[in-house]
């Protein structure tokens, strides 16, 4: 939570950070959360700010 606020402070979309506690026996939940997170990130678009210029 603290870190999320730090990200926001330096200008990163805070929504890019998600943390979930899932036990090894909750396979379905892993799938569901991953799907949900992918959707969320897709909506935000690529993270151009942190892309390395190489």
């Amino acid at each position: 939570m603290l870190f999320k606020q730090m990200m926001e402070y330096v200008g990163l979309e805070p929504d890019r950070l998600q943390i979930r506690w899932i036990s090894g026996s909750e396979g379905a939940k892993v799938a569901e959360v991953t799907r949900e997170m992918t959707e969320r990130i897709r909506a935000l678009g690529p993270n151009t700010k942190m892309r390395d210029v190489k």
Binding site: L2, M6, E8, Y9, V10, K49, M50, D52
Partner: protein
């Protein structure tokens, strides 16, 4: 001021003569009148080199870490803000209390060297700085300039929380008034930053971070950074470091990551001594980052400024059932 210096020298000489400590870490006159330099006195004679005044900005507590794995006893001179760093190191078991003698000095504020030097007319040379009690007088070879003492203090001093040490075995002088001023809110600049929208924040910090040299001076001066080996040196094994430029690549995203990680790592540790910002060669407003952390830790966990006592636990080292939690 004079008596404080005398007291300090006398106590340091006594400690060294009696072999109570092997070394006294303090300040000595620097290469010009507007500077002091860290001084490591090991004999009673060298104790006479010690000095104290409004130009002793360095936080000497950091040097303790260089001696943490030895068995000698040391003494260190601390101001109010530095003393918080002593408490933090003691709390983190980075230095044993039995091996430490804390020599406290009363601090009426530290001067911002750059602002003083900018007052001196071009071509003139600063020869001495005199303290008349009320005013400070810059003595140059082209004349004397006098100004009120609290005119050119460092920003942190206007917001000083403890101008007297919070921990000390010996106090070199009577308490002096705090340089803190009305109207200098702790969080004012942080609030201003938070109020910007995210694109403006992003461009502000991009602008700052793009100047970062990744010299790690900020980390090296920081008493909160006590790791023997820093995470930023682990990205590539030590023996490859000089060979691989990539490990220290200075791109803007890498710099931003460096600062974000440092920000997180000093949470609950940063005592707001301002050393990071003072030593940064490119003038990045680093305290603006770490004061945000102080503010958030205060709001989220009710944590006060770290190091005020050795009793309070750092917010990230403790779990309370009522801690705010967003991700469960």
């Amino acid at each position: 001021m004079k008596t404080v210096v005398d007291n300090l020298r006398r106590e340091a000489a006594r400690l060294l003569a009696g072999d109570e400590v092997k070394m006294v870490i303090g300040y000595a006159a620097g290469t010009d009148a507007a500077r002091t330099t860290p001084c490591f006195a090991t004999t009673p004679e060298q104790a006479a080199l010690l000095t104290w005044g409004p130009l002793c900005a360095n936080n000497l507590v950091k040097y303790l870490l260089d001696y943490r794995f030895e068995d000698t006893r040391l003494a260190v001179v601390v101001k109010g803000c530095d003393s918080r760093a002593v408490n933090r190191l003691l709390q983190d078991l980075q230095f044993p209390r039995q091996r430490l003698v804390v020599l406290g000095v009363p601090c009426g504020g530290q001067l911002d060297r750059a602002s003083i030097l900018s007052e001196i007319p071009p071509g003139a040379r600063l020869q001495d700085i005199e303290d008349t009690g009320e005013d400070l007088v810059l003595v140059t070879d082209k004349g004397r300039l006098s100004f009120p003492k609290d005119r050119f203090l460092m920003d942190k001093c206007y917001r000083c929380e403890t101008n007297m040490p919070v921990v000390a075995d010996f106090l070199a002088g009577e308490p002096v008034p705090s340089p803190a001023r009305e109207g200098f809110e702790h969080t004012a600049e942080v609030d201003g930053m938070e109020a910007l929208d995210i694109a403006d924040k992003s461009s502000f910090w991009d602008n700052e971070f793009s100047r970062c040299l990744r010299c790690t001076a900020c980390r090296n001066a920081c008493p909160a950074c006590s790791c023997k080996e820093c995470v930023f040196e682990q990205a590539v094994p030590g023996w490859q470091q000089s060979g691989i430029i990539g490990s220290k690549v200075n791109s803007l995203p890498e710099n931003a990551v460096f600062h974000l990680i440092r920000m997180f790592h000093v949470t609950g540790r940063c005592v707001d001594c301002g050393e990071c910002e003072r030593v940064c060669p490119v003038g990045i407003p680093l305290r603006l980052l770490y004061r945000k952390v102080l503010k958030d830790a205060r709001i989220l966990y009710g944590a006060g400024t770290p190091g005020m006592s050795t009793e309070t636990v750092s917010p990230l080292s403790e779990f309370r059932p009522d801690d705010p939690e967003e991700f469960m």
